[in-house]
């Protein structure tokens, strides 16, 4: 009994203590998955569109998601579109467009990859005087 106890103390207990310490190590090396989240952004824009004219504004989508554009105020039915900014000369190369009056829900809601985009408001050939408008652009 005494021999067994001595053997336990000499050979087993030290390794048991070491094992317990060692077991506490290692969790600091857990790999983390890179996050790729983007805070939703809401932009408000108001301007004027002239007869025969167009007005555009660019914005950046930081990750894939949905672009939602709401023409919230306008004095007439207008053309509204979303597309890519022109490489030169300003303006917008539209990919999606609608003819719409102002409303409270998005007139355009479209999936988009990350990148540079623009929104454009344009006269449909009906304006006789400049018209003010306002819109909200929601995007990732």
């Amino acid at each position: 009994m005494n021999v067994a106890t001595s053997l336990l103390r000499v050979f087993v207990l030290p390794w048991l203590v070491i094992a317990l310490f060692a077991a506490g190590c290692g969790d600091g090396k857990t790999s983390t998955t890179p996050s790729n989240t983007s805070t939703p952004t809401s932009e408000n824009w108001s301007s004027v569109v002239a007869p025969g004219g167009q007005s555009s504004r660019s914005f950046t989508v930081n990750s894939s998601g949905t672009i939602a554009v709401t023409l919230t105020a306008a004095g007439a039915t207008l053309g509204l579109g979303v597309g890519l900014p022109r490489v030169t000369g300003g303006g917008c190369r539209l990919g999606v467009s609608v003819n719409t009056a102002a409303g409270s829900s998005p007139q355009i809601s479209t999936a988009a990859d990350a990148g540079q985009y623009c929104v454009q408001v344009y006269d449909l050939g009906t304006l006789r005087d400049p018209v003010e408008f306002a819109m909200k652009i929601d995007h990732p």
């Binding site: 103390r9 000499v10 030290p14 203590v17 070491i18 310490f21 060692a22 506490g24 190590c25 600091g28 090396k29 790999s31 983390t32 998955t33 890179p34 167009q54 894939s64 672009i67 053309g79 579109g81 979303v82 597309g83 890519l84 022109r86 490489v87 190369r93 539209l94 990919g95 999606v96 467009s97 479209t110 999936a111 988009a112 990859d113 990148g115 985009y117 454009q120 344009y122």
Partner: protein, 149 residues
């Protein structure tokens, strides 16, 4: 005495523990470049754009816009887009595009083609009006995005 002998070992173990310093996630994703191919496409015409893929990775091609020449707005039409290998003359000038993949699509703001182009080399993106019924009725502005490593 025996416990004293253990102390250096335990101290070493304690030193090894507790490294909670956050590690920056490693990233092996190659940097991507986005190129624009903007031009006018006539009825029944095709055009291509040469680009260079620098390393292995995903290339995406997006027909983003199709719009009238003479007024704002968009055109509803189905066109064929695709990618292939450039054809060069003896002087190394790109003179053509041998297509490897094509899809028929309408404009959208998300990529219509996503492929891994290997090896890293010179490639081309192509756009063509191929369908008399659902294609162009008149010349149109188009905008394509090519994102590649």
């Amino acid at each position: 005495m025996r416990f004293a002998a253990l102390l250096p070992i335990l101290a070493a173990l304690c030193t090894a523990c507790g490294d909670k310093t956050p590690t920056t996630p490693s990233s092996t994703t190659p940097s991507l470049a986005t190129e624009r191919f903007d031009d006018i496409l006539n009825v029944r015409e095709s055009k291509f754009y040469a680009f260079s893929v620098g390393s292995n990775g995903t290339t995406s091609i997006n027909l983003a816009s199709l719009s009238p020449i003479d007024r704002p707005g968009t055109i509803v039409a189905t066109l064929e887009i695709g990618w292939g290998k450039t054809v060069k003359d003896d002087a190394g000038t790109v003179i053509g595009c041998t297509l490897s993949k094509v899809v028929q699509t309408t404009p959208a703001l998300t990529a219509q083609i996503t492929d891994t182009l290997v090896p890293a080399s010179d490639y081309c993106a192509n756009i063509a009006d191929v369908d008399r019924v659902i294609g162009l009725r008149a010349p149109a502005n188009f905008s394509m995005r090519i994102t590649h490593p």
